[in-house]
């Protein structure tokens, strides 16, 4: 079942445009939303929540139109945009006391579990938290009312590797045991290698791909080798070609990677795919 469907979202700014952004999130899945800084991730997510008004397009949660059922939908979802950067002089317990009232499904015991799991002291003020701790607090709030869909903008940035791993494990628990879905943006693509079922990749305001992570990753190969051994015809097919000291590297579509004698072919990961696809043309010719 589709828990979120985004269809043909368009939003124009003076110097940036979201163009026909479409994707859907299935129930019980983790979808990673990737793209470089400024690609349109946050604008897309804000559009999904009515915080930014798209020029056109349709957004549905649980089969319900966002415009008509915003209140009901927002009870069933949770969303955060980075760290808890509000009311810096207020204590965590004061903010939680306000936040919890808005959710009929608030689970105080679960919230307390997250506080102790993240080693958060509810007597502390927001300003006393580090960036990582403040993300953990924002997450503790978002995770404690049994949301059916979590929409998280950069939830892992600013966290140390151990905390990131811990958070990703929590994501798995939520999906596996509660049947919820998670849609989270990140530019730390290795987070997605661990547990994302699907990925949606946005590039310059357009959806470049939205599919199963495995099939997306499997559709590319990394190619490396000596530049002298590279046939000209194959060179033209390489995405993000990069050459240094006679050695080159780049990305090939899987179907182009068959006839590559004397070149090293290896499986790609999200990071190398994204880097090669985003690599600017200027990299092909030395600037200096």
């Amino acid at each position: 079942m589709e828990v979120l469907s985004v269809k043909n979202i368009n939003k124009g700014y003076e110097k940036f445009q979201l163009r026909n952004v479409s994707f859907c999130v299935e129930g019980g899945c983790i979808m990673g939303f990737i793209g470089r800084n400024g690609a349109g991730k946050t604008t897309t997510m804000k559009s999904m929540l009515n915080l930014v008004h798209p020029d056109s397009g349709a957004i549905q949660f649980f089969g319900m139109d966002l415009q008509a059922h915003e209140f009901e939908i927002k009870q069933r979802i949770s969303f955060i945009f980075g760290a808890a950067q509000y009311y810096s002089q207020s204590k965590l317990k004061t903010i939680a006391d306000v936040y919890r009232r808005f959710y009929k499904t608030w689970d105080e015991a679960l919230y307390q579990t997250y506080l102790s799991r993240f080693e958060l002291d509810s007597e502390k003020k927001i300003k006393q938290l580090s960036q990582g701790m403040s993300i953990k607090f924002a997450l503790s709030l978002a995770l404690s009312h049994h949301a059916e869909l979590l929409i998280l903008d950069e939830p892992t940035s600013g966290l140390d590797p151990v905390s990131r791993d811990e958070l990703l494990t929590i994501f798995e628990d939520i999906v596996d045991h509660e049947g919820a879905s998670i849609f989270f943006s990140t530019h730390i693509t290795s987070d997605l290698d661990k547990n994302a079922d699907d990925i949606t990749y946005i590039k310059n305001g357009e959806i470049f791909a939205s599919e199963k992570r495995e099939s997306f990753v499997d559709s590319y190969r990394i190619v490396e080798g000596s530049a002298t051994l590279l046939p000209q015809l194959l060179k033209k097919k390489i995405i993000g070609f990069h050459e240094r000291k006679g050695e080159f590297s780049g990305l090939l579509r899987k179907e182009d990677a068959n006839d590559t004698q004397n070149l090293k072919i290896s499986t790609a990961d999200l990071e190398s795919i994204m880097v090669c696809i985003e690599r600017k043309e200027t990299d092909e010719e030395p600037v200096l």
Partner: protein
């Protein structure tokens, strides 16, 4: 709405709003432009918005499961409550002032029921100018407050000049003589009606502005 209201008082209201309620005692000053007491409360309200920028109040509010217009409505209720509280708290001091010192106020309107009618109008003007201007950006507070102050001052000047130039108004409104209570009551009621109308209009405009805004 109850929850948003709780949030307003727990996280958003600036302490000066409570502090300025104490300025009701300024009505005991024998000669004083009593509008000033109510001016201060608009400053307290301005601090709620100014402080909201510092605390990222709007950022937190938009994370809640609410519609944008609900956030505007809760804030309007908060503003109205402090305006009403200021009037309610001031009334006993107005009575006390006239009991303790029946002499004429040489610095402006007498502390009578007509004054409160004019204050209602002044608050209505503040609401219609400041609030929609703020919700146009949900960030800029300084210029909207300056303009709303200018509008309130202009209103007070016009009211004072009219009362002092027109003998009928001077005799009936600028007095504590209870004979003129019916006339003063009319001003009071007109003040309430105007204030309600202006605030309702301000709410409709603010919601429209805030809904349009990309956050």
């Amino acid at each position: 709405m109850k929850n948003l209201f709780y949030k307003e008082f727990k996280l958003s209201v600036h302490p000066t709003c409570y502090l300025f309620l104490l300025l009701a005692t300024m009505l005991l000053i024998p000669n004083y432009p009593y509008y000033v007491v109510f001016f201060y409360q608009t400053l307290g309200i301005f601090f709620i918005f100014l402080n909201g920028n510092t605390t990222n109040d709007i950022t937190f509010t938009t994370l809640l499961p609410i519609r944008k217009r609900d956030a505007v409505k809760a804030r309007f209720y908060t503003v109205i409550i402090f305006e009403l509280l200021q009037i309610i708290v001031t009334i006993p001091f107005a009575i006390l002032r006239n009991v303790l010192n029946p002499a004429e106020n040489l610095a402006g309107m007498e502390a009578n029921i007509a004054l409160f009618g004019l204050v209602f109008m002044m608050f209505g003007i503040f609401n219609i100018v400041f609030l929609p201007m703020f919700y146009k950006t949900a960030y800029k507070t300084g210029i909207p407050y300056l303009i709303s102050c200018a509008a309130m001052i202009l209103f007070v000047i016009i009211a004072e000049v009219a009362i002092n130039l027109l003998p009928t108004l001077k005799v009936t409104l600028d007095t504590t003589n209870t004979v003129y209570f019916p006339q003063q009551m009319i001003v009071f009621l007109i003040g309430i009606i105007l204030s309600v109308l202006l605030t309702a209009f301000a709410y409709a405009m603010s919601v429209r502005q805030f809904e349009k805004l990309d956050l």
